[in-house]
Amino acid sequence: MGQALIFSGDFSGDPEETVYASSGPRLDATPLDRTPTGLAALAAVPGLWRGDALARVELESLSTGYSALDAQLPGGGWPLGALTEILNGHTGIGEMRLFFPALAVLSKRADAPPIILLQPPYMPYAPAFAGAGIAPEQVLVLRTRRPEDALWACEQCLKYAPRSAVFAWPQRLASQDLRRLQLAVENRPVLAVLMRDLKTAQHSSAAALRIALSTDPGSRQLGLRILKRRGALITRPIWVEPPSPLPFIPDFHEEPLHALDRPVPAATAA
């Protein structure tokens, strides 16, 4: 596999300054256009590590499971071998569920790649992952006491955990740290996601993809505003519907609050 990307300019510079080489993918093209016809069918399978089988210079990606989103991402899915930053202000709006479809596909692969969660903010809950079709045994949770260990560990994972998915919740991240991480992941087929607070949006970042999340209370939609990607910027958020914990009811119409919704009074003690 050859060099995937050629960066130029200042790494710490403004994202907009990043210039892509001509050998890179055509940003306006859909993934299928970029693939030779013989491989078109293969490439259409969601979650396939595209490019893995190709001896060509390609950006590897992992289908997100949302076609609207895939269409907007360079490479047609979550980028591999580059940092993705997710910026979120509210825990619980679906920041992890967003990745569940992709991770479920990842989890079903024969080589059972690990899904590493570095310094997650709360206790990752095995039944939730199992319920989403992600084998919990593949989920590794890493916690370090010192921040410098965290960075080191993240770097190690990006470098040496081939074909895995790494999610990190860095506390503080200097731009050189980001660069280090970006360098570590470069060229390796790893899904690398940094989960950061929305407030860090104004800071510059070496990440290849930056997405800010927003909600629409009452709906089940999650809004993705792409702050940075390889290619032209879009300002309209993309709305996706991550897997919901709420029951699927085809003709669900809001009934007046039914008895079921009230807590059942407890009878005498068991």
């Binding site: 199992a130 989403a132 914990p245 029951p247 009811i249 008895a259 079921l260 059942v264 009878a267 005498t268």
Partner: protein, 1108 residues
Amino acid sequence: MPGGGLPGYYELHCLSNFSFLRGASHAEELVTQAMQLGYSGLAITDECSLAGVVRAHDLVKDAPFKLIIGSEFRFTGDHKRNPGLPRSRIVLLAQTITGYQLLSGLITRARLKAEKGSYLFYRHYLRNELPDCICLYVPELPVRAAQDAPAEEARIAALSRDAIDLARHFPGRMWLACELHAGPNDRANRQAVEEIARRAGLPIVACGDVRMHERARKPLHDVMTAIRLNIPVPDCGHALLTNGERHLRDRLSLARVYKSEWLQESIRIAQMCSFELSEIKYTYPEEMVPPGETAASYLRKLATEGLNDRYPDGPGSKELAQMERELQLIEEKGYEAYFLTVHDIVRFARSKKILCQGRGSAANSVVCYALHITAVDPSRHQLMFARFLSKDRDEPPDIDVDFEHERREEVIQHLYEKYGRHRAALAAAVSVYRPRGALRDVGKALGLSNDQLDAVSKNMAWWDGHSTMDKRLAECGLDTESPVVTQLLYLTRQLMKNPRHLSQHSGGFVLADKKLSSMVPVENATMEKRTVIQWDKDDLESLRLMKVDVLGLGMLTLIRRAMEAISEARGALFEMDDIPKEDPEVYDMLCAGETIGVFQVESRAQMSMLPRLQPRVFYDLVIEVAIVRPGPIQGGMVHPYLRRRQGLEPVTYPSAAVEGVLKRTLGVSIFQEQVMQLAMVAAGFTDADANRLRRAMGAWKRTGGLEEFEARIKSGMKDREYSAEYAEQICKQIQGFGEYGFPESHANSFALLVYVSSWLKRHEPAIFLLALLNSQPLGFYAPSQLVQDARRNGVEVLPVDVNESNYEARLEQSEQQRADWRRAFENRLARGDYIHPQDNHPEGRKLGHYYAGTGEMRVNAYPPPRPYQRAPQAAVRLGLKKIANLSAAGADRLLEARRAGAFTDVHDLTHRARLDRSDLEALAAADALASISGHRRRAVWDVIGVEAPIPLTPETATPETRAELAAPTAHEDLQQDYAALSLTLRRHPLTLLRSQLRERRLSSAAELSRYPHGRLARACGIVTGRQRPGTAKGTIFVTLEDETGYVNVVCWPSMIEQFRREILLSRLMTVYGVWETDGKVAHLIAKRVVDDTSLIDWLATPASRDFR
């Protein structure tokens, strides 16, 4: 509390604990709870079973509450057919008797297809439309974490298809059950059910899938799940219920969970179900009635014939009148066929020479006596026919017949053959959790280790109930304050009395005119070729189904053998009826308490009662049998009766009416029916009341409920001006009889066997021993004690011998007989009256018995004595059967080979009988080769020198140097006797220890018997029995045996804890205590007990017989 304004509700899907280890409440608890919650009714729908419904039915009989009968099923093989699909269940409810019959047939079909305890239920069973049954389809919807539209749609589609498919069999009679239990997907499930209903066009009904009557049973339910899976509770994971919602929820909660129209549907369904269990009509088979006769005329004919047979001089007018009364009543009630059936069974047994005798209340009936069903002449006793059959009581008669134990199976198979398997089955016996089993299973479920549980259950003696459980646990090092042990105790108590499985009743047969399965489901029993119905005897009684008890009684086997032996010895048929009645010598023996081996009165308690009671007539035996029972003992009747009998207390009656009831028992109630009669004459109970009381007494331990009667008795007696103390006393007696008491008729039947066996012991001790040995196991005593007892009574017992013994023990000419014979022979010679065996003289053949195998001239020394005349006793030769490790096949070959002549030496024996080394060694160890080898050591040397027989080679012994072997020591012989035969005919082992014991100043039984009351005494003996009667408040009675007799030791509870180990485990026990005697009965009251087993460690004494 019934809520006003709330919709009515019938729970239609509810499992009792007869869905073993799935339901955690008794059917009674469920019904009671449903009533209290104001449900309109309840369906008991155990999984493929109707075992719990009768109990529920009994409870609602008179209540404004509807019981619906149904059953739950899971289709076999569904998970294979549709691996992706959850397995749905159906509940079938009987609408009418037709529906019920179909349901019962369906359960039978499913149960008979599978082995005991399981069932196979295929969809094609429903192919033929099931009219009069309602089907509830219970779609099982899995727990799911996230929305998955395609999966949801596939599931709903499949379930709808399945429902549509099933609904074809239940046009207009199928509902979709919606069962919500505050699970994670309740709302989605509700929507799914609605969607299925829409697609399948079915109405929805709310159901509870109830497993327990109240939420508090959830821990027990969890434990049951763990027991079912055989793993600890914490490992059960998702096999446990998520919550306790599967209980009978109050109606407010139901109204919150379900749409009110779904609740309404339950009412609609209930209204469609009109069936009640009381509609079951039972008809008795009538095929034994010959053509041209009616059942009534035939019964009358048989009874009249039988009566004439019973009274050779013609029946008296009293008997005839009684028979007439009985026949009329039987006809009125339509019970002829039942009597004919029992008669038929008895006739079959008699034709096969199987001894049998009716017991229980049937002994009150002249008809039963005439039909040879019972053996007690009712006219000789004052019995209550009404107890057996009454005009006012709508209750079928219950005739129990004992058959000799060894041959009962022939009778059972005869019944199956005669009536066919579809019409005959055994009643069920519900095997319930007892303390030890419950503790074990709960302990396992709570994760206690096997070793801990072994230790605990080992430490729980046979008498420990749940009251002492805490203590036993503490002794095993468990902290009874710890949460786990607290839970263990709490849950053990809850699990106790829950049914474990259905087993078979000891012999209660239900026979039906048509298919039995249309009345009650039939299933397979553990024993091959046996089928049982799903109801037990209480259920049968409650629904008035008749059963015939075909019971086994070892004593009858013994009597049959003894009668055969006497007949053979006398050369003429000798039967039970030929035994002389009221023989004073027999009563002398009984008064002395010498009853080892005698039926019923051989226990320690009975033995010490006999000298006090001083039985002189048959009726005294009836009392003796009945008085040493928990009923009279706990009712405090024993001492008053004895005092009155001995004239130490005046015999008084509170009224003439009471005198009528209690006169024959000196004013003290001893029999069960006397208590009932008292309730009638003294408290104004009607016959029906009294009968309800009797039933309540029987069920008291299980369900309680005597309080109601107590109050009525007290007020009734007060009205009739009896003292409050007397009323209190009567109530106490009633409780006592609830424990266990004998009805008089039953005591009568048993007393007859007591008399017969006592007579045998007194007058034919050799034959009695022979029959006892050949009927083992039987009674309280081991063969070793029986042999010792017989020898003390002058019976000559001969050792096992390869050239003399048969497989079983047999009679042989004794020394005394030989002498008598010689004298008779000389007389005959003198008279010129000489018979040679080859003469084939008829008299010469008759007595072959006394002389088997000797080839000597045979003469019948004793012409058949009739009437009875005591003859000199024969000797008893022990049989090869007693030899440990001798194979039955080897013994067979040996006996076969011996027909050609006695064995001359071991080599001859080995080759002719083709015995292998282990059989030979067994014979040598038992000293059975004495006649061909000499003493034991020689026999062993010979035996181990034998080479295996090689076929087709000439068999000659290899010559070898003769070995000089000294005779074995007394120790050695004793040791090997016990090891090989469990008894010895040599000196008692304690004779070897006597000098040692004398140094320790320990007395023998004979010495103690001369002690005065109150002397300090010390004794030592082999423990032959430990008894701890439930009535003795924890006292343990230990029997010690030495070379001179027995010492009866009493261990009061106060010292038991201190010497528990010694008392429980000693084989040789030394007791220090006080001798107590009243001149008739003597005891050694233990103060200190020492385990001296180490002195006889070398000796394998037979295990002590420990009884409750």
